[in-house]
């Protein structure tokens, strides 16, 4: 991460730290760096900073480094960290807040694939009311330009009668559209 003047970042980004605390409802200042969250994290070997370091970086106001980290996109939300946190911090919830912050602030380089997946997933839910897997896969693959992705699973799923070619449309689609429009405009 290179050299960082901690006094300066803290001054510049205090509002960011405060917002993460407010949005997540988690008082990360309670953390005393026991690192149990990282010890149990099934994603830590694929992360650039383990969860305890992300919490420390947050306390120091290192907004850019945190929002640009690989960590927040590798986190699977399994909540093992939360379960084991001796200071009662819902670390997984903080990761959720950080992902939302990163999307809002446009730090999405490392998350291209996650975001196109989420957008494709939510697009089918917004349109039909339920997930339509084949439609999601096609949309995701065309967004990423990786047209053959997961094709090895498509045919076997069809053969087992586990994938439908057509979406199921619920009756409450207008209500769904309203929910999406009033939360994430345009339903992306």
């Amino acid at each position: 991460m290179g050299e960082v003047n901690l006094y300066q970042v803290m001054d510049h980004n205090r509002s960011f730290t405060d917002r993460v605390i407010a949005e997540s409802g988690q008082d990360i200042r309670q953390c005393y760096q026991c690192a149990k969250c990282s010890g149990g994290c099934p994603g830590s070997t694929a992360m650039d900073y383990p969860p305890n370091q992300i919490i420390r970086m947050l306390m120091l106001g290192m907004k850019e480094e945190v929002l640009k980290s690989q960590t927040i996109w590798v986190c699977m939300g399994c909540s093992t960290c939360t379960t084991r946190c001796i200071r009662d911090i819902d670390v997984a919830r903080v990761m959720d807040t950080l992902r939302q912050e990163a999307i809002r602030a446009g730090y999405v380089d490392k998350a291209k694939y996650v975001l196109s997946f989420n957008e494709s997933f939510l697009w089918t839910v917004r349109s039909f009311g339920r997930l339509f897997e084949a439609g999601m896969a096609m949309m995701n693959n065309s967004k990423t330009g990786n047209f053959m992705k997961d094709m090895q699973f498509g045919l076997p799923l069809m053969l087992k009668g586990k994938a439908s070619m057509f979406p199921h449309r619920i009756k409450g689609r207008r209500e769904m559209k309203n929910i999406f429009d009033k939360t994430i405009q345009g339903g992306k």
């Binding site: 099934p42 590798v74 909540s79 093992t80 939360t82 379960t83 999307i103 586990k162 994430i184």
Partner: protein
């Protein structure tokens, strides 16, 4: 007769179709009534809670509000990921009236919290139903060694999940397996994450996590891993091909749902339980049970 609002979720109509088939078949055999939530929608899963907090609560709240139109006091979701979203609604909206109002302003029918979330495995593992199962076992699964795999989302985080089971060493499924005559083996990966949510985006890491779980189950002497979450099940079942390619190990470990195992012990037809829908051939288990 016990009655529950039943939320199949998208998986039970696709990748986890055999979980739905076996759940219904076993419920019928045990006199449990599942009433499907009318006009249900997708709970939004990880994609919603990564994107927007309010969205991630409104989608499952709509479902729970619709469940309130049914003559029930409890709702169940066989999928652990859906269950976790309902638990989040109960936990967060139950403690924050402003948030509840905000969510309800997005819904046509308000969520009141009248219908409570019930831990799906407990529908079968509660003492009454368990003794009923014990009495109805036609083909004891004696000799079958089973690794019970709960995944993360039924039990973690315990505060939100209302401490339904031990988050590190849960017992509900172990008790069921024991009632069927099989042996639940002790193993350390009962609630380790399988990485299903990384399947599309960080496939390499997901494959590693699957391999860890499969390896621990095999080394602990399991004949099969029994799953309770359709995402874990699909991941561990389908991804064995990828694991084999990457690690050069062929486990051929069948991954049935716990409801399928109950059905086999009750003497139900394996086809009606969706045994043929599994990717890794469960012939070995069927042979041990004496139905093939």
């Amino acid at each position: 007769m016990s009655k529950y609002a039943f939320y199949p979720g998208c998986s039970l109509e696709s990748g986890g179709i055999e979980y739905g088939m076996s759940s219904q078949a076993v419920a019928d055999a045990l006199g449990i009534e599942f009433l499907e939530v009318p006009d249900w929608n997708c709970c939004g899963a990880s994609s919603a809670h990564m994107t927007d907090h309010l969205l991630s609560l409104a989608l499952p709240a709509r479902i729970m509000a619709l469940a309130e139109t049914l003559p029930v006091t409890e709702i169940v979701a066989p999928c652990a990921a859906c269950h976790a979203r309902f638990a989040a609604v109960e936990y967060e909206l139950g403690r924050d009236d402003d948030l509840k109002q905000k969510v309800n302003s997005l819904l046509e029918r308000p969520y009141t919290g009248k219908v409570k979330l019930r831990y799906y495995i407990d529908v079968f593992s509660n003492p009454d139903t368990l003794s009923k199962i014990e009495k109805k076992v036609k083909k004891s699964l004696k000799g079958l060694k089973v690794a019970c795999y709960y995944g993360c989302l039924f039990v973690k985080p315990p505060k939100v999940m209302q401490f339904v089971d031990d988050p590190e060493n849960p017992q509900a499924m172990d008790n069921i397996v024991r009632a069927l005559g099989a042996e639940p083996i002790p193993w350390p990966y009962k609630t380790e994450c399988c990485g299903a949510s990384l399947g599309v985006t960080e496939e390499d890491h997901c494959t590693k996590l699957c391999n860890d779980i499969l390896r621990f189950a095999r080394d602990s002497g399991a004949d099969c891993i029994v799953a309770a979450c359709p995402l874990c099940q699909a991941n561990l079942d389908m991804r064995q091909v990828t694991v084999e390619k990457k690690y050069g190990v062929s486990y051929r470990m069948p991954i049935p749902f716990f409801t399928q195992l109950i059905g086999l012990a009750l003497g139900l037809n394996p086809t009606s339980l969706g045994m043929k829908k599994l990717f890794v051939d469960p012939a070995g288990i069927l042979k041990k049970v004496g139905v093939a």
